[in-house]
């Protein structure tokens, strides 16, 4: 087996000195499929995801992405690493006043010069890819509508299209289904799985919905109090593990 796409070693994050949100976490992520990070609110799942593409600055540790330590990067090197990592957000984080097409193409902003981006002079190859992605997420008729005119599920599809538009080698998703209804949540998970599989890239996402995680994930990380308490396949996740992760047991019934 080749080197893993992403490996985290001794990752530590303190927002306030001496109060670690993540305490020395080490995880080796599989190079394919969906890895679901589960755990109670406030346990650092979101911080973990955001440390990977450095939207949050790690306090200590290594984040090895194809052997490159992301934690050490600065300036241009960091931006070039970010281009290779797509990200999907809980609240979609679309630029609301731009059109759907502009939002999808903004996934190429790491590759396009400011002047060309301002003039919307994207390479034809990118524009073709954007149309193909809009077809894939079923939003072609909305291409020239403003993003704030869409429903939640449609916005998240645009968010996914933007992330995949980067041509990433890794897809991160920070609670991609938490703002969506159950049916749309399943559709969004299916869409991410299909797009990631066809591009052969791994997905790391955090999620509150344990059944959804078990259904789609090929690997599960269970976190509690800033520590990893489960790291294995979804089939191995027992009620005992869930008790350990979330605490209590009344909610399991």
């Amino acid at each position: 087996m080749s080197a893993p796409a992403l490996e985290i070693r001794g990752l530590r994050k303190e927002y306030r000195r001496g109060v670690p949100v993540l305490s020395d976490i080490s995880i080796t992520f599989p190079s394919r499929g969906i890895t679901a990070v589960i755990g109670p609110s406030g346990t650092g799942k979101s911080t973990l995801i955001r440390c990977i593409n450095r939207l949050v600055e790690p306090t200590a540790g290594q984040i090895l992405f194809h052997g490159l330590d992301l934690a050490q990067l600065r300036g241009k090197a960091l931006r070039e690493a970010r281009r290779r990592i797509g990200m999907v957000f809980q609240e979609y984080n679309l630029v609301e006043r731009l059109t759907v097409m502009e939002n999808v193409l903004s996934g190429r902003l790491g590759y396009v010069s400011p002047l060309k981006a301002w003039l919307r002079k994207y390479p034809q190859r990118d524009i073709n890819a954007a149309w193909a992605l809009l077809d894939a997420v079923g939003l072609t008729p909305f291409a020239n509508q403003r993003a704030d005119a869409l429903s939640g599920g449609q916005r998240q599809r645009v968010g996914i299209a933007r992330a995949v538009m980067q041509g990433p080698e890794l897809l991160l998703a920070d609670e991609p289904t938490s703002s969506l209804d159950p049916k749309t949540s399943v559709e969004i998970m299916e869409l991410m799985l299909a797009l990631a599989d066809s591009r052969r890239i791994p997905v790391i996402l955090n999620i509150h919905n344990v059944p959804l995680a078990k259904r789609f994930a090929t690997h599960v990380i269970g976190m509690s109090g800033g520590n990893v308490v489960y790291d294995g396949p979804p089939e191995g996740l027992t009620d005992d593990h869930l008790k350990q992760i979330y605490g209590g047991e009344d909610w399991l019934e």
Partner: protein, 265 residues
């Protein structure tokens, strides 16, 4: 209902005595100031009589050809001063406002910027115009410089405040794509503030148009000089012509602004 229990409850709305006292003090000071300044009803009535005579001397407006030519030249110059100073002011305010926004820039950048902006707005346009007339001489250049400075003080501050109110989630998403700083600004920040920027810019143009009719009084170019001369020569009928022309100009600009704002909704 048990009325004794109800009576035992504290009042739902407590009187705010400090605020009441402040209002009473303010009213008392207003009366005191009026008495010191000899503002009385008799003086007001007397003033009204003067006013009626003054208006009588303004009518009918003077539309003699040579005076109309002079007025139009002044109006054109006023318009030119307003357009150039607005354009310069907006252009300079865009980066200043960005660098003064505390949610995007570190304190060591925002503090000097905020100081510069505050400096630009510390004096009234007419005072800045007097300074520039002394510095670069009579004429439109002084007016343009004065109104440019005043515009910066005003809209750079509004730009900065608009940027401080944007949603950082959208900025974060653009940053996550690996976009360069300028691309983050043009895709993550500008779309969120553009329509407000247009609003501020058109408002500032409107403001500059009115102010540029005034800087002429201190010799900084435009219709103000002509208007002030008409005042001093008791040419009240010509003055009325100028005032009507200014009103017409402001009305046209108002209509134009509404159209522009609709365009960028």
């Amino acid at each position: 209902m048990n009325s004794t229990v109800l009576a035992a409850r504290p009042p739902a709305f407590l009187p705010n005595w400090p605020a009441r006292l402040a209002w009473i003090a303010l009213a008392a000071y207003a009366f005191y100031a009026a008495s010191i300044l000899d503002v009385t009803w008799d003086r007001f009535v007397l003033g009204l009589e003067h006013g009626v005579k003054f208006i009588g001397r303004m009518l009918p407006p003077d539309t003699e050809a040579s005076k109309m030519t002079l007025m139009m030249r002044g109006l054109y110059e006023t318009l030119e001063i307003a357009v150039i100073s607005s354009a310069l002011g907006i252009l300079i305010s865009l980066p200043l406002g960005l660098f003064a926004a505390r949610n995007l820039m570190p304190p060591w950048v925002t503090w000097p910027m905020r100081f510069l902006i505050a400096f630009c707005r510390s004096f009234h346009q007419v005072i800045i115009a007097i300074l520039f007339v002394k510095a670069v001489g009579f004429g439109a250049l002084a007016g343009i410089l004065a109104l440019t400075v005043a515009s910066i003080g005003f809209i750079a501050k509004l730009f900065a405040e608009a940027i401080e109110e944007i949603s950082l989630k959208q900025v974060e998403a653009i940053r996550a794509t690996g976009a360069s700083f300028l691309n983050v600004i043009s895709y993550g920040v500008l779309p969120q503030v553009l329509s407000r920027f247009i609003g501020f810019a058109t408002y500032q143009f409107d403001s500059n148009l009115r102010n540029s009719t005034m800087v002429g009084i201190v010799g900084a170019g435009g219709i103000g000089g002509t208007m002030f001369a008409a005042f001093q020569k008791f040419d009240y009928d010509y003055l009325l012509t100028i005032l009507l022309a200014i009103i017409a100009m402001i009305m046209v600009s108002e209509a134009l602004q509404n159209w522009i704002k609709k365009l960028y909704q």
